[in-house]
């Protein structure tokens, strides 16, 4: 039995050491994130978050509640931070190509840890025609497997009108044109054609 404990101890030590090493090899501070979150086919976990648009900040009584969007196709876009160039690229593309990528009847929401006032200014700088939700504790990001060390990771979910997840990209490439093509196709399929 003593050998058994030694073996398990060695394995535990390896787990502690190997995980940060693999992250450090990618440069920057050690981070360890295991991809999780609901997969396509699952019901989208409900949540409630405050929001801002380019024009205003939503009232407390008017939080975004996912289940209230039933009947619409919903796109959840988790991203690291407002006003950073990768996120600007992503949300600028969503804005510039809104009709082409999403179309009428689709509810697009961006989600990051930023404050509502920062969201309002960011949305205004882009002219974004969609809501940005504030998730400072990453509670919702964690539910959707998108939690990072200090900021959310860049992921995208498509939810069909029945509330079922039909697509997810857990490493959305903000600078990869094909990532947008795949999202467009997924939204079209979720809308039923």
């Amino acid at each position: 039995m003593r050998i058994h404990y030694r073996l398990m101890g060695a394995a535990a030590l390896f787990a502690v050491v190997a995980t940060p090493l693999s992250a450090q090899a990618q440069k920057g501070p050690p981070t360890a994130v295991v991809v999780s979150g609901p997969e396509p086919g699952a019901k989208a976990p409900d949540f409630r978050l405050p929001w801002a648009t380019k024009d205003s900040i939503g009232s407390v009584a008017d939080d975004f509640v996912l289940r209230n969007a039933r009947g619409k196709t919903v796109v959840l876009a988790f991203y690291p931070a407002d006003f950073t160039s990768g996120c600007t690229a992503e949300l600028k593309a969503f804005t510039d190509r809104y009709d082409e990528l999403f179309g009428e009847g689709v509810e697009v929401v961006g989600i990051s840890t930023d404050s509502l006032e920062t969201h309002r200014r960011f949305a205004a700088s882009l002219g974004a025609p969609f809501k940005l939700l504030s998730d400072p504790s990453q509670r919702v990001a964690r539910t959707y497997g998108s939690k990072g060390d200090t900021n959310a990771r860049r992921t995208v979910y498509v939810i069909d009108p029945s509330g079922t997840i039909t697509y997810r990209d857990m490493r959305f490439g903000a600078l990869d044109p094909r990532a947008y093509d795949a999202l467009q196709k997924a939204v079209r399929e979720a809308r039923g054609g």
Partner: protein
């Protein structure tokens, strides 16, 4: 109560250890992939020699440069303020190192048009060979976390520097890949 022969027990422990170590290795590899998402291609890895079209659509195979001479690649966009902030620095670095280092600017094509980029290049004359990554070959190979992401590879094609933002100090890496002594020791 059953007794287990010591040899059989040892074999059982070894199997447990192997399973646990494999699980840990998979977890570590998964963590590395996830962490890489917003950090871009790793320093120390080989610069991918992908083919990306020039502004006129002509395919440009980066193998023409990578592994043959030092290379600097910036992933940029006309609307990127950090890229605009880096432009004077890139111009200054190109004046000093352009004879030995190939400067390449891969336009990310997000919220861009070929005509718009061509007009921008004509007006601002950025100090690099401009490529237009409309199929995303460059983006998928280098995983740039942001526009203004710069990669510098040495003569062997090994990446020695990556960074992003409008205040990057490229001089130490360029001195290193050109084999020159550093007069500033990397400090601005």
């Amino acid at each position: 109560m059953t007794t287990v022969h010591p040899v059989a027990r040892r074999a059982s422990y070894t199997r447990v250890l192997v399973h646990v170590l494999v699980a840990c290795a998979l977890l570590a590899a998964s963590a590395g992939r996830a962490a890489a998402q917003d950090e871009g291609i790793a320093v120390g890895s080989a610069a991918p020699a992908v083919t990306v079209p020039a502004l006129d659509g002509t395919p440009v195979d980066l193998a023409r440069y990578i592994g043959k001479k030092p290379v600097l690649i910036e992933f940029w966009a006309t609307w990127c303020t950090s890229c605009q902030a880096m432009m004077p620095r890139l111009t200054a670095m190109h004046e000093r190192f352009g004879g030995e280092v190939e400067f390449i600017g891969i336009n990310v094509t997000i919220s861009e048009t070929r005509e718009g980029v061509a007009a921008y290049v004509k007006e601002h004359a950025p100090p690099f060979l401009t490529l237009y990554d409309e199929a995303g070959e460059g983006a998928r190979a280098y995983n740039p976390p942001a526009t203004s992401f710069i990669v510098i590879a040495d003569r062997s094609g090994r990446i020695v520097y990556t960074g992003a933002g409008g205040t990057q100090n490229l001089e130490p890496a360029l001195l290193a890949v050109t084999g020159r002594a550093s007069p500033t020791n990397g400090k601005e």
